[in-house]
């Protein structure tokens, strides 16, 4: 049976969220600016949920919660050759010394876009995923299979139990996402600014249909009640009479023709429509159908899959 993760959710006002932010200039941090001005700028830009996710450093957001009145998840970016966002829990998995993240130092080799860490450590990555999960957290594989810090496909294939992958973080890595889904693993997709400097702010975010609290955000993210946006907003995504009906608008309520691309198993493009809305008739053998919508100026929106629950073995 096909399941729509947005069913019954779209009446909730979505919370604009980004969980991949490097901020703070104290010892061990990797930010360029202090945490407070960064949170303030995100709040001014309309965000209601954030996570300060520094490299291998857990940040306690408690002092900022009251001051800024937005949901702040506790977390960090596990960082070796593989990067993983660990959100919504106090879990922190130490990094073995020989694969620790040391930009510009030893242990590097030439990659196609500059130096990359030589050593992989799949076991420790799996441990970070497991530690996060057992502490009630949510883990996201970062910038998979792309340039310098990409988590390669063989590593992604070797681990399990994570919740989502970043599909938009500078690049669109939807091919890796389709690879994961097509193996019968139901994982969600997220978008990130990977904020380090001001020009990263507000490039790509998640709209989450949940209560604007830490618990509400995590609950919605677990059930896939969210979408990735780079400027567009979801108005409708319904599954009725065997059809998926979808409508997307510009961020400021602008209605115009967009390219709606319906994507199925193995990344196959099932249908492309250029219109103000679109629909797709499910044939039954798709395994999943997800949407990648693009406006003429390059604004985007990526939905979670509407999926056949009989196909997915890991949920």
């Amino acid at each position: 049976m096909f399941i729509n993760p947005y069913a019954g959710r779209l009446d909730i006002k979505p919370v604009k969220s980004n969980f991949h932010i490097h901020a703070g200039t104290g010892p061990g941090t990797c930010g360029a600016y202090e945490i407070e001005p960064v949170i303030e700028a995100y709040r001014d830009c309309g965000y209601g949920a954030l996570c300060i996710s520094n490299h291998n450093l857990l940040t306690d957001p408690a002092p900022y919660r009251e001051k800024y009145g937005i949901a702040l998840l506790q977390g960090y970016e596990y960082t070796t050759r593989e990067h993983l966002l660990c959100l919504g829990s106090p879990a922190f998995t130490p990094i073995p010394q020989d694969v620790i993240f040391r930009p510009g130092r030893d242990g590097l080799e030439e990659g196609p876009f500059g130096p990359v860490h030589r050593k992989r450590n799949v076991e420790n990555l799996q441990k970070a995923i497991d530690d996060c999960k057992s502490a009630g957290g949510y883990s996201i594989i970062c910038h998979p299979d792309c340039h310098v810090w990409g988590v390669s496909r063989d590593v992604i294939d070797a681990v399990g139990g994570y919740d989502a992958i970043e599909i938009l973080n500078g690049l669109n890595t939807s091919d890796t996402y389709d690879h994961i889904l097509s193996k019968g693993l139901l994982k969600w997709c997220t978008g990130s600014d990977d904020f380090h400097r001001w020009w990263h702010l507000g490039v790509c975010w998640n709209m989450i249909y949940g209560e604007p609290t830490e618990a509400g955000i995590l609950e919605a993210m677990r059930s896939g009640a969210m979408y990735v946006s780079k400027g567009l907003s979801l108005q409708r995504l319904e599954l009725s009479d065997g059809r998926i009906h979808v409508k997307v608008m510009g961020g400021d309520g602008f209605e115009g023709d967009m390219e709606y691309k319906f994507i199925g198993k193995d990344g196959r493009v099932l249908k492309v429509t250029n219109d103000t809305e679109a629909s797709y008739r499910i044939k039954g053998n798709e395994a999943y159908v997800r949407l990648d919508v693009t406006s003429p100026e390059g604004w985007k929106l990526i939905t979670q899959p509407v999926y056949d629950d009989a196909f997915f073995t890991e949920k």
């Binding site: 700028a41 690049l171 693009t294």
Partner: protein, 302 residues
Amino acid sequence: MFVNPYKDCFEKKPLKCTFHTHAGTGPGTCGAYGIDDVLALYKELGFDSLCISNHNLYTDPAEYEKKHGILLFPGYEYTKWEHMVCLGTDKVLVPHPETMAPLEDPVTPYQAAIDGCNADGGFPILCHPNWPVEWALSKGFLSSVHRMRAIEAHNGSCGSNAWDHVLSGGRLIWGVGSDDFHRWWNLARSWNVVYADRDKPSIMAALKAGAFYASTGLALQGLTLDSDKISVEVINPNDYRDEFNFKFFGADGRLLKEVNEETATYRLKGGEKYVRVEVMNNAGRKLYTQPVYDDEYLSIEE
């Protein structure tokens, strides 16, 4: 005869430029941050040239230019209902500059500002024609104003339809990319790559000749016209993937050809007044080329 404005461009090291920046927090300014802070970030991002273009307010760039080592054009943004970056002039020609209230006759003062900018050797750029709604600057208005040199092809919204409207009327104007910087989240969303030497007269001459393109992240590697064949080559400097969506547009915004490939070509059939190209990657990053145009149909308005 078809003319390629990029002829002889690709030997030059391209410059990264933006001409639509609001900054400064003093009286009458419209910025959110100090000019020094904003310029320091553009400099760090590799920009060679920009313009502080505050609403109805001239900002003297001399002291900042020296301090930041970035080429700063004088200019301002003409701001009523209709907006225009008047690049390369220090004279604010706006009736009642203290207000942005719409005018009963929008054409006459707008035309005076265009002519004043041109008289100073400047480059008037019609702004965001589809903001806040599509055709915010109506076809009637676009047809009534003359001698503007450019239009924002990308400034949050896309200006392609208004650009095509002007081009299809036989008037050659160039397409510009602007981030319309007000807040950090506008920074470097869209810019121009200009084939010029690194000095202001050379940049201004290149702008007037259409020797530049608008980008939101992609880089043009080549655009050639070989008898009747237009060839376009593009890269994304941050990616190893090399497939792009190329759209060739002609008069009235008609889509002449669409290709998903590494490079693309278009064969002129004859009768196209112009052909311009928009390229996009799968993450929504774009570039907009200037038109390759038939000089029997299109010319820069004198």
